[in-house]
């Protein structure tokens, strides 16, 4: 989804997106497969004191320290990360980060034609990171632009707020 231009660029009717589908709090989300480095079973996550609320902590991924981000916070889903079973290791903003998810469903090919823009009811500054809604056989899937959903300066800003109070 997030091609070089950061936007959906349909290249003809038969153009398909390859998307990794995962579930958080019962909602199906998708991110472009090129973004995803791997999916791992959720290991022990070490808490990082004073980090932003959507930073769950850090994990050891074969010798590298990788931050784990909790999309629940960012997507205002409620619930908590303890239900998460897997971590999707993805490239976000050019760095490697993990996303806590409740389950990974599959890798799907989605024809671009079946992707609808986000409905007007949910647009607004908070949902810029929704690229579109894709119709799948089993229901709908929210396509995410991770770069927009997880901008470091926003995460830092969140921490600033916490410090301030």
């Amino acid at each position: 989804m997030s091609g070089p231009g950061g936007e959906l660029q349909p290249r003809g009717e038969d153009w398909e997106l390859q998307v990794v589908l995962f579930e958080i709090e019962g909602v199906t989300y998708g991110v472009e497969v090129d973004r995803v480095l791997e999916v791992i079973l959720r290991p022990e996550v070490s808490r990082v004191p004073s980090a932003a609320a959507c930073v769950e902590g850090v994990i050891n991924l074969r010798g590298s320290v990788i931050p784990v981000l909790d999309l629940r916070q960012r997507l205002r889903l409620g619930g908590d990360a303890s239900r998460a079973t897997h971590i999707v290791i993805a490239l976000v903003q050019g760095t490697v980060a993990g996303l806590s998810v409740d389950g990974v469903l599959q890798v799907a090919r989605i024809p671009v034609a079946s992707v609808a823009p986000p409905p007007a009811a949910i647009t607004g500054p908070d949902v810029r990171y929704v690229e579109g809604i894709a119709k799948l056989e089993g229901g709908l899937c929210v396509l995410l632009d991770l770069d927009l959903a997880l901008r470091p300066e926003e995460l830092l800003a969140v921490r600033g707020d916490l410090d301030g109070k």
Binding site: S46, P49, V55, V58, G63, S64, V65, I66, T95, L155
Partner: protein
């Protein structure tokens, strides 16, 4: 944008061009400052001419004709200087410096991907006019051109020679008796693994024919050629530069980082294996099991090799501090000129090596301290005369290594710190109460300079203001696990002393556990470890204190500091400190001292207060690396309790 022909400029080409250009510009700038001070000779003019010439050639080669044209004029100017057709005047120096600034600007544009051809041409001096007598000609303490000449000596080792390294070493030895070896490939200290069949070196010597004689006594090696290094204007393509460049290879920074990471992994595995071996040892002595003894030996060897590898890679990441220092002479000169002061910066210990990453971080703090020295330290020329000092102010920038640390001193010969003025400012800013001001020692007064809010908008000047005070400087040093202190002698000058660890990547740390979290405390900050008991635990004003050999130390729960739950009855306290501040941290368990590889928490987390990063333990578990200074800040704010 760059090429006319079919050849396109790759990113690598651009990068190489830019790196070389920066070196040339640096030569020009250093030269210009030398010219201004008058201590130059024909060699300097020659070097400047060559730098302009080479850069011109390079610019032309990549199709940047605008830049090449500009450099053509600059080259012509140095040619005139060299030929004594024009003289060095302050105006000319200024012209050269402005020219260098314009070049930098063009290079910056080029680095951005633009083609900087639409620049004004370098103003061309008319030799006749410029050489007119009676002008403000600067005296040149012209150095005698030395009788020594530089030769490029190429040696060939016979094909059947079993130990080429030995032969080349002997040849170097013989040649170094004749004159100075300016450079060699292979370098003398990297000869031990040399297996090649030829060696090249640059030798400063009076006569070429001596070279052959010196080598006559050696076997299996003979002289292939002796060529004088071009001292005349280099022919297009610059043979001279190419020969000097063969001693080093440029390595991409990310490749080094990757190597460093891999070595880090290896260090961890080594620790893991030696832990395992230690575990096996427990039951019975080695002799009973030959394989176990073998394993222990292999583990020991692995440890040695890893350590060696680690040190070597670390060395590869180190750069001479000259890379950082060399931009400052110009800075200081310009700052001085702007405030009507003559200030000269002297550089010492430029070959002191420092981790590249740390060097990057030191630029801003040092710039600030130098600005400070020029603005507040060095007096104006009249005052200096009155005080019986030379009109020209001196600032020395000195680097040296001391037990795993690099010490950088910024020493000025200015007025020193006015203690009373500092106290007045601190009072006015509300940093200090009048009662406190009465009792301050000199050291404490000087420490006030680093207090947040001490430097404010009121004293913003073009030079040192900008509302950033020395507190910001101290903060940046603390991020590097370094310290800064100031020493001042009224009337004699001020010294800022910076202490920075040689490298941040690998450090020894004490691992402690609180609940299920593991933290690493850098060993340099650990003063001692105490088992808590009723006898050494106290409370004063509701605050827990640890009494230790007559002094009382504030006690904090590590878990609480890091926003964890209160953990009752944790049995140990680790006293950490820096300088004259210390604090005791209460922890649940001690896991011993280890070598750890410091890893960044990454862009997403940025700088987290109290943490410098994370590390991975032998068990695969993660530990957060605590920034001890974070605890000490709290300690400094708390009232000091002293037992008598």
């Amino acid at each position: 944008m760059a090429s006319d022909g079919g050849w396109t400029l790759t990113d690598d080409d651009r990068q190489i061009f830019l790196v070389e250009a920066e070196e040339m510009v640096q030569v020009l700038e250093e030269g210009a400052l030398e010219l201004e001070r008058g201590g130059y000779g024909p060699e300097l003019l020659q070097a400047m001419f060559r730098a302009a010439h080479t850069l011109k050639g390079n610019s032309g080669m990549i199709g940047e004709d605008g830049m090449a044209g500009y450099l053509h004029n600059m080259e012509a100017l140095f040619d005139d200087l060299r030929g004594e057709r024009i003289a060095v005047t302050p105006a000319l120096v200024q012209q050269v410096l402005s020219g260098i600034d314009a070049l930098r600007e063009m290079l910056a544009q080029f680095a951005q991907g633009a083609s900087p051809s639409a620049v004004q041409p370098m103003p061309r001096e008319d030799p006749a006019a410029a050489a007119s007598p009676g002008g403000d000609v600067m005296p040149a303490h012209v150095q005698e051109p030395s009788a020594q000449r530089r030769f490029v000596v190429t040696l060939a080792v016979d094909a059947e020679c079993a130990m080429p390294a030995v032969r080349v070493f002997q040849a170097y030895q013989e040649l170094s008796r004749l004159g100075r070896i300016e450079g060699a490939d292979p370098q003398q200290d990297s000869l031990s693994n040399f297996q090649g069949r030829s060696a090249t070196l640059v030798l400063s010597v009076e006569r070429a024919d001596e070279v052959e004689g010196a080598l006559a006594g050696l076997e299996e090696i003979h002289l292939e050629s002796v060529k004088e290094q071009a001292a005349a204007p280099a022919s297009p393509g610059g043979d001279g530069e190419r020969e000097a460049a063969t001693q080093t290879v440029r390595v991409r920074v990310d490749v080094l980082d990757k190597l460093m990471n891999l070595v880090g992994e290896l260090v961890l595995d080594r620790t893991r294996i030696s832990d395992l071996v230690a575990g096996l040892d427990g039951g019975k002595p080695h002799e009973e099991d030959e394989r176990q003894a073998e394993l222990a030996r292999a583990s020991l060897h692995l440890g040695r090799v890893t350590l060696d590898l680690q040190e070597t890679i670390m060395k590869a990441r180190m750069l001479p501090i000259e890379q950082l220092f060399r931009r400052f002479p110009r800075l200081v000169r310009d700052l001085g000129a702007r405030s009507g002061k003559h200030v000269h910066l002297e550089l010492y210990g430029q070959d002191t090596e420092l981790d590249r990453m740390i060097m990057d971080e030191l630029g801003d703090p040092l710039t600030h301290i130098l600005r400070n020295a020029v603005d507040h330290g060095i007096e104006c020329p009249e005052l200096r005369m009155l005080a019986g000092k030379p009109e020209e102010g001196r600032i020395a920038l000195r680097a040296a290594t001391e037990e795993g640390y690099v010490i950088i001193d910024v020493v000025d010969d200015g007025a020193g710190i006015d203690q009373e003025a500092v106290k007045r400012t601190a009072l006015a800013r509300g940093i200090l109460t009048p009662e406190q001001a009465e009792r301050l020692t000199q050291r404490e007064v000087e420490d006030l300079l680093f207090a947040p809010g001490f430097s404010t908008a009121e004293e913003v000047t073009e030079i040192s203001g900008r509302g950033v005070g020395l507190d910001a400087v101290r903060a940046s040093l603390e991020r590097l696990s370094g310290t800064i202190e100031v020493l001042s002698e009224p009337g004699r000058g001020t010294t800022f002393r910076l202490r920075i660890p040689l490298t941040l990547a690998i450090l020894r740390a004490l691992l402690v556990r609180t609940g299920d979290e593991v933290y690493a405390l850098p060993i340099g900050a650990v003063r001692q470890i105490v088992k808590l008991s009723e006898r050494n635990l106290h409370t004063a004003h509701g605050r827990p204190l640890l009494s230790d050999r007559g002094s009382l130390i504030g006690l904090q729960s590590l878990s609480r500091v890091f926003e964890g739950p209160e953990r009752e009855g944790e049995p140990f306290a680790v006293v950490v400190g820096a300088g004259d501040r210390q604090v005791a941290l209460r922890v649940g368990a001690l896991m011993g001292e280890r070598e750890i590889v410091l890893k960044s928490l990454g862009d997403f987390l940025g700088t987290v207060p109290g943490l410098t990063g994370a590390t991975i333990l032998g068990s695969g578990e993660l530990a957060l690396v605590a920034d001890v200074r974070y605890f000490l800040r709290g300690a400094a704010a708390a009232p000091k309790e002293q037992a008598t």
